[in-house]
Structure formats: C-alpha cells, structure tokens
Symmetry: C2
Subunit: 317 residues, 2 copies
Amino acid sequence: MRILVTGGLGTVGRGLVGELRSRGHAVVSLDLAHQPDEVGFTLKPDVTDPMYARCDVGQFRQLERVFQVMGPFEYVYHCAAEFGRWNGEDFYETLWQSNAIGTKNLIRLQERLGFRLVHFSSSEVYGDWPGIMVEPVMDEHEIKQLNDYAMTKWVNEMQIRNSALQFGTESVVVRLFNTYGPGEHYSPYRSVNCRFLYCALHGHPWTVFRGHSRTSTYLADTVRTVANISDNFKPGETYNIGGRDLHSIEELSELILQVTGADPALVEHRESEILTTRDKVVDVSKSVRDLDHRNSYSLEEGLRLTADWMRKVYGKA
Amino acid sequence: MRILVTGGLGTVGRGLVGELRSRGHAVVSLDLAHQPDEVGFTLKPDVTDPMYARCDVGQFRQLERVFQVMGPFEYVYHCAAEFGRWNGEDFYETLWQSNAIGTKNLIRLQERLGFRLVHFSSSEVYGDWPGIMVEPVMDEHEIKQLNDYAMTKWVNEMQIRNSALQFGTESVVVRLFNTYGPGEHYSPYRSVNCRFLYCALHGHPWTVFRGHSRTSTYLADTVRTVANISDNFKPGETYNIGGRDLHSIEELSELILQVTGADPALVEHRESEILTTRDKVVDVSKSVRDLDHRNSYSLEEGLRLTADWMRKVYGKA
C-alpha cells in the first residue's frame, strides 16, 4: 500500500516509517525540515524516487501539494503535532497552528480524497480523570483539560468525529501513553523518561515530583501496534496504546539511576505538580484485542536500550 | 475607569463601547480595520486623543503594543473573535488564530499586567445538551462540541480557568445567546435574525429549518448587562446572557414577515439541520441576580427596530 506519515521525523513518526517499510509498504513521510531524500517541487532532486516532502501541515497549500505530487495514499498516519504540555504553554501559537489548523487541513483533504486516517492523540485528553482510563470515559464524563496541549488533542478528536458524522470520513484515533525509546532526542520538553535518562548520562540534576504515577510504553511496541491498524481497520474506533505496569515517577527515577550508574545526589524530590494528572491508570484491553497490542519490554529493559542508544547519539559511550 | 474593548467594531463590541462611554469611562477599542480615530504607532495621527487602535489579537506583538501605548487598563472586554458556526467551518484557520491564539495572547498579557478580563463566550459551548442551559452544566456533563467555532469558545473558557488556577488571574465569562439588533451588519454568516430580516427587506428567499428553537436577546439589553459587570465583579463566574421567550425558527420567520411585509412565498421550509442544537432553553437567573439583566424588548419590538435600522443602512427606507 501507499501510505503517508506526517511528522515522519518525530520520535513516533520515524519509528512508524521504519516499521511500515519493513512490511513492504511504500511510505512517504513529511516534516518541517529539509532532508537529503526530499522531493523537489520546482527543482529536480538528485536522489531518485524521493519519499520525503518538506511540509508544514499548518499551511494548507503545502499539505495539498504533497497529496498532488506524491499521492494518492490509502492510509495517512497523522503524527505531526506540537508535543507536550509545557511545550504547548510556551509555544502556544505554534501548537494551535500545527495541531488544530493542521489537523483540520488534513481532514478537509480527507473529505475530498477519501483516504483512511489514523490520528495520534494523547493520554492527556483524559485530563483530571481519577479512575481507570478506558476509551469511553470521554463520552460519559466531563473532563477538565488541564493545558492547551491537551485541548488541541481533544479538539482533534472532535473535529474527526464531526467530519465522520457530516461527511462519512473513515478514521481511527490512537491515544498514546508516555511512549519512550531509542529515537527520542532530548529536549527539556520531551517525555519524563527521556529527560531523566539524558540528565543521568550528562550529570545534570533532575526533579522528581512525588505522588504521580504513569505507565511507560516502549516505542517499538507502540509502532508495531499502530502499524497493525490497517489489518483490522474499524472506522470510528479509538484505542489506548499504553504500557502494562504502573510505576511512580520515584520508581522510574530509581531505575534510571540503576541503569546509568548516575549519582543519586542528582535527584531532587518535590511535592505534587500543579495542573498535572496524578495517576494515569490505563486500560489497553481494546488495543490488545483488535490490534494485537503487546508490551514486549519491561521498563528496565526499555530504559537500558534507550540509555545505550543515547550514549551513542550524545557521544557518552 | 480606563477600559479596553477588543473587537470594538463588531456588533457587540461597538454597542458596548457606546454603553461604557455613556457611563463616563475612558474606552479604548481595537479591531482589524483602519479607522479615522486610530492611534499612529510611528506616525503622528491627525485626530487628537485617538481612542482606537488597529490590532489583530492573534498577533502578539500588535496586541502587546496596544497595552504599551494606550494602557494601562483596569478592565478588558474581549469581544474580538471569529463569529459563527459556518464561518468557523469555512474560515477555520482564521478562527483558530483569532480565537484560540488571540485569547491566549490576551491571557498571557493579563498574567503579566493584572487587568480584569470579561470574556465573551457563546451558547454554542452547550453543544448538544438537551436540557435547560444553566451555567454549571459544563462542569457536570460531557458536552459534544458540534463545530470548530464551539470548540474555540470552550477552549477559551478552559484557558481562562487554567490561568486563574495557575496564576490567580481574575476573569468573568459571559455566554451570549443569539444576540441581534441594530448594528449587526448582514453577511450570510450572521445570526438567523439578521439574515432573515435582510432577506425579507431585499426580496431574497430564505430557508427555515423545522424543529429548532431559540431565545433571542436584543443587543441593547446585552450590552447594558455586560457593562454592569464592573459594578459587581466576581472573579471566576460565568453568566448566561439570554432572552426571555423561547421561539421556534418558524415563529421568528413569521414575525419577520409581519414586521417587514415581505412576501411569504420567499420562505422555504426544510427538515432539521445536521450538527445544530435543536433547542436552546436558557436559564438567565444568575445574570438577573448578579448583573441586573433585563429583557426590555419583546421579539417583535426588537425585530421592528432592527428592520428600521437595516432599511436606513441598506437604503431601503
């Protein structure tokens, strides 16, 4: 099949492009940066058969052009988004432009072209929900979105549902829970796993907020499950893609000390963080059933592999 | 007091500027267009003491400059927004830029400068709620937002609440219900009252969807109530500002035929519209109690006055 992955240079997008290509699909990807294998729109590229396009999904003309020049596509995996809660607060113009306008741009093209959409949402849409995060929670309970990033992700789910109602578009939504692994390059806005590992390897101090718990999902597990969607595509469905074991942020930090051998004195403990979900207890039985979701790595294994990768990338081997 | 009204050239904004000035306040307004009484930022204006600034609230630099050059303000009435459901679907880039990013820009300035904010929300945030629309519905029930316009309005309310929680900003939200009256210039994206009146006066056919009911609020009543907020400012409160009498869209259309003497053959009836709330039954007891909200005009009176104004504006006298 011919498939488009938006945000193909991101942590999840890049992993997904690899997984889908390994299954024999013709995968085009797009992202904000120039790349050696990118298509030339008015110039002739040097690479034969380029499978990447530079494109800001928030700019309709650029997105439409990718479909005209590199389409048609049977599936579009929409990973392109501004990511993360504090990133969204600090770069909210970019957040709303890419996430709300960008996704609406893609939906408008879907209404015209009819491809199947797999949209990447986030566990953040569960907001302050105190119970087990099972997919229909959102249909039955009023959720307080705690930050603009969460709002954009919930807006996207509503935009997709309204388009399905009004125009019959076919989409599936996946809600990712704290995905981490090799391929996640550090910035202070990245996942807690990535940040603590990076700090541990570089001797930077890090802060652990007490009283929050999460599951972690190893990237290879996430992308395999998501790639399985085309084998059992059920329009209108939403899936949690999460890890098996609940761990506190304190436990995560302890494991990272073990795996990296970093100095425990680097860790500072603080009280619970404002506007942040305390516990995220996820039910993944639906993605296990429909998408053969499996968690193949323990947290310790996953952290070890990620630390190995990071040591190489950042020259700490 | 020194007050800023964003969207001061809009239907509600213009009415509010007049009301606040008649009460003796120093009112600065801003909007997208150039105006005779606008301030010059790098040039010297010809008018003495200009009280208008050209500004797109979606552009932080322009908004910040208004506060620097024309502030400080004790109150900001935030009327600037892309308005309306179909307008939001057809111009969604502008919608998200002005409403989500623009309001966040204003909140960031509020966190820095400490003014009190009165934010204009919409009855659209009640989505598909089938019961009486009383303010706390949103805190207790999951509401399906039916369109991007409604989403932006709900996003704004959450942005404001999160800022109050995190930074202690002081804001009041008003949810307007189908406000109409002299000052609402016609476009096909305006309120149903405005559209039908314009069509009736110009001999254009119009379509009445059966089975929807609304209240209508006469603009002069809305702006008086909203201007009262500074007399009894309760941070964190949300108020419905709506009309008294529920009427079907068929009844509204009949009244407009009476008031204008238009040909009944202009009216076409159709079945219920998709993704549109069927009935909006509003409870306004809270704004009556706290803000002395009054509905001083019957629907027929209000339509008559609006028709008189429209005849003058469009040369149909």
